[in-house]
């Protein structure tokens, strides 16, 4: 067998798809977090500057305008660790106090790159013109925010890698276990293709989908094995059952040939031979017919068949023949049921059953053709009071060529009931052989849909 390339297995593809989905989830989560954190930080810094400005203003109101540089210096000291930026300029642009170099005043909130303590930093600022004409710039270093976003990016990066590893690993483990079970099924089927029909897929009794699949495969194999066995059986039977009459025919011809008999005797021998060949041909015809019905091909479209009418007409047709055998043929049929069926096959099925009953029942008995409506179903039955069929033989008589020991000497090819069984199956009907105490009752139950 071709080694399964792990990269081409469906479980690998599934793993890949899951990993991609995980990564997508992580990325979305990251994006959302990033945006919200930034938003929050921005709002926080802007508010911080506004609060700071209000604080300074209220402190100036309490202490007086001339105390402003001191207030700013104390704020500067107080907020040194959060890297706050202050710059106070007089109206002429000269620096009064602050921790950055003097610059051209700018107003309103904005981002600026400023040199703080000798380092260039990204600072969120707001510039104000004070009541006495001084200029005040308050800034908030954003590096904290940058550090935070960097931390978020890093943690999500690590998370992403871990997720990827877990997804691939998990997928591989699950995939392997799935592959193993599929492989066990496919190795069984290969063994069967190789000729060993007795192989079966092992079940795990877990009741999962794989067990259901394996059970289905096993059931299919049982059916195939059954068919193979019956096919072998049938071809054996055909070979055997046709050999006997052919041998007899050969003996008859050889006998006539060797004895150099008179024209009259030769004529007689030939006549007998033709009759024998006819019976062999008849057997072939019956076999072909059964095969054709079982194959179900070229089926005539089903037509509505009035059962009481059909059964009555068959009983009428066979009554004289039954009388000639010293039997009575009667009908006991509930009227009004129509089946959708192949009328010709249905007729042949009933005729075969009546035929059997007449041939196997002794004189003085009654044969009853019954038609019963059972709920939505229709049961058709032929009951006789003949010798019947022993329970253990009932299954076997449905097989082609099978004949009871008692009837081996009577005329017939042993295909009648096989044909009935094939026709019943074609119509989805159930055939059953029951004890009529005494005698045999063959019943065919047609389901409601038929």
């Amino acid at each position: 067998m071709r080694a399964t390339n792990p990269l081409r297995t469906s479980s690998f593809r599934l793993t890949l798809a899951y990993a991609a989905l995980f990564v997508l989830c992580v990325l979305v989560l990251f994006g959302v977090t990033y945006v919200f954190v930034n938003e929050y930080a921005l709002q926080d810094e802007t508010e911080e500057i506004a609060v700071e400005f209000a604080d300074i203003q209220s402190e100036v109101q309490l202490a007086g305008q001339e105390r402003l540089p001191d207030i700013i210096n104390s704020h500067l000291k107080l907020r040194e660790e959060v890297r706050a930026v202050y710059l106070l300029l007089d109206p002429q642009g000269n620096k009064i106090t602050g921790n950055i170099e003097p610059m051209q005043p700018v107003f309103g909130p904005r981002m600026m790159d400023l040199v703080v303590e000798g380092k260039l930093r990204s600072v969120r600022t707001n510039g104000f013109r004070l009541g006495n004409g001084d200029y005040l710039l308050i800034g908030q270093d954003t590096d904290t925010l940058n550090d935070m976003t960097a931390l978020i990016v890093r943690s999500f990066g690590v998370g992403l890698i871990v997720t990827l590893i877990l997804a691939v690993l998990g997928g591989a483990i699950i995939g392997r276990s799935v592959l193993k079970r599929i492989e066990s099924i496919s190795s069984t089927t290969r063994a069967i293709v190789g000729g060993d029909l007795s192989q079966r897929v092992a079940l795990r009794d877990s009741g999962d989908e794989f067990d259901a699949l394996a059970a289905g495969v096993n059931a299919m194999l049982d059916r195939i094995e059954d068919l193979m066995r019956s096919m072998r059986q049938v071809s054996n039977d055909i070979a055997h059952d046709l050999r006997t009459p052919l041998t007899r025919l050969r003996q008859k011809l050889e006998h006539a040939h060797r004895r150099g008999a008179s024209t009259e005797e030769l004529h007689e021998a030939l006549g007998g031979s033709i009759a024998q060949v006819d019976s062999i041909l008849e057997t072939f015809g019956a076999l072909l017919r059964i095969a054709q019905i079982e194959a179900g091909g070229r089926a005539a479209p089903p037509a509505p068949v009035n059962m009481s009418k059909l059964l009555a007409s068959i009983v009428e047709d066979f009554s004289p023949a039954a009388e000639d055998h010293g039997q009575r043929l009667v009908a006991d049929v509930e009227s009004g049921r129509t089946l959708s069926a192949d009328p010709e096959l249905l007729t042949q099925m009933i005729v075969n059953l009546v035929d059997n009953a007449i041939r196997h029942s002794p004189p003085g008995t009654t044969i009853c053709v019954q038609g019963k409506v059972i709920g939505d179903d229709f049961e058709l039955a032929v009951a006789d009071s003949g010798p019947g069929i022993p329970v253990h033989e009932r299954e076997k008589v449905l097989r082609p060529f099978y004949r009871l020991e008692a009837s081996r000497t009577t005329e017939g090819n042993g295909l009648g009931l096989s044909l009935v069984a094939a026709i019943a199956k074609r119509h989805h009907a159930t055939l059953s052989l029951n004890d009529n105490a005494p005698g045999l009752r063959v019943a065919v139950l047609f389901p409601a849909a038929a």
């Binding site: 015809g285 070229r298 009428e316 004289p320 042949q348």
Partner: protein, 225 residues
């Protein structure tokens, strides 16, 4: 009477032609469907015996083509024994009768004779008379020498078929086909038991028998001549 045999199997064809010529028929042979169609349309035959399976042009198409061109010559189809609905398609295509291979020559001959006499599209007969036996389809009354005979429906149909083919040999299979509409052979003697009853009703008590058994072939309804 001229018969065209369209059959590709040489052995079967020789068997048919030999047997039919022995019976006094003039027989022409075609080995495939196309030759068969050509001969059937260019010459005048009383009966065509056509195999269903033919090279060049199958039997069914041959007959369909023939019928479409207005040719109404009687057709007897030969079919293989496996076909369940071969009979139906054959008759639908315009065949007048069919025979399943392998067949006994007597069976073929009986059917050929029945077809040869079949009136094609002429008036419908409702009254039959053979010797002193009369059958009326409209009143459904059967009389012999003026005495009414009571028959069961199936016996009536059986007698009707025999009278339609009076003087001809009618086989068991023909009776099963046409009187019972059984296209298979039941093992029970359905035909025999009905015929013996019919015979009792029709012939018993009369000096001459009308229903005759032809050994190895079938039955024949015939007045003594």
């Amino acid at each position: 009477m001229r018969i065209l045999v369209v059959e590709d199997d040489a052995e079967t064809a020789a068997y048919l032609i030999g047997g039919l010529e022995e019976e006094g028929y003039a027989v022409t042979h075609a080995g495939d469907g196309r030759d068969g169609l050509f001969l059937a349309t260019t010459e005048n035959f009383d009966l065509l015996i056509i195999d269903r399976m033919l090279p060049e042009l199958d039997g069914l198409t041959l007959v369909k083509t023939l019928r479409a061109s207005g040719n109404e010559t009687s057709v007897l189809f030969l079919t293989t024994m496996s076909g369940i609905d071969d009979r139906v398609t054959g008759l639908n295509a315009g065949g007048d009768d069919y025979l399943v291979k392998p067949f006994a020559f007597s069976e073929l001959l009986a059917r050929v004779k029945a077809l040869a006499r079949r009136p094609r599209g002429t008036h419908v007969e409702t009254h039959f008379k053979v010797g002193d036996l009369e059958l009326d389809l409209l009143t459904r009354v059967v009389k012999r020498s003026g005495h009414e005979i009571a028959l069961q429906p199936r016996e009536f149909r059986l007698l009707e078929y025999l009278m339609r083919h009076a003087g001809e040999v009618v086989t068991r299979t023909m009776l099963l086909d046409n009187v019972w509409n059984y296209h298979f052979d039941p093992r029970t003697n359905v035909v025999e038991s009905h015929l013996s009853r019919l015979r009792t009703k029709v012939d018993k008590g009369y000096s001459s028998e009308l229903i005759h058994t032809v050994r190895g072939a079938g039955y024949c309804l015939r007045a003594r001549d």
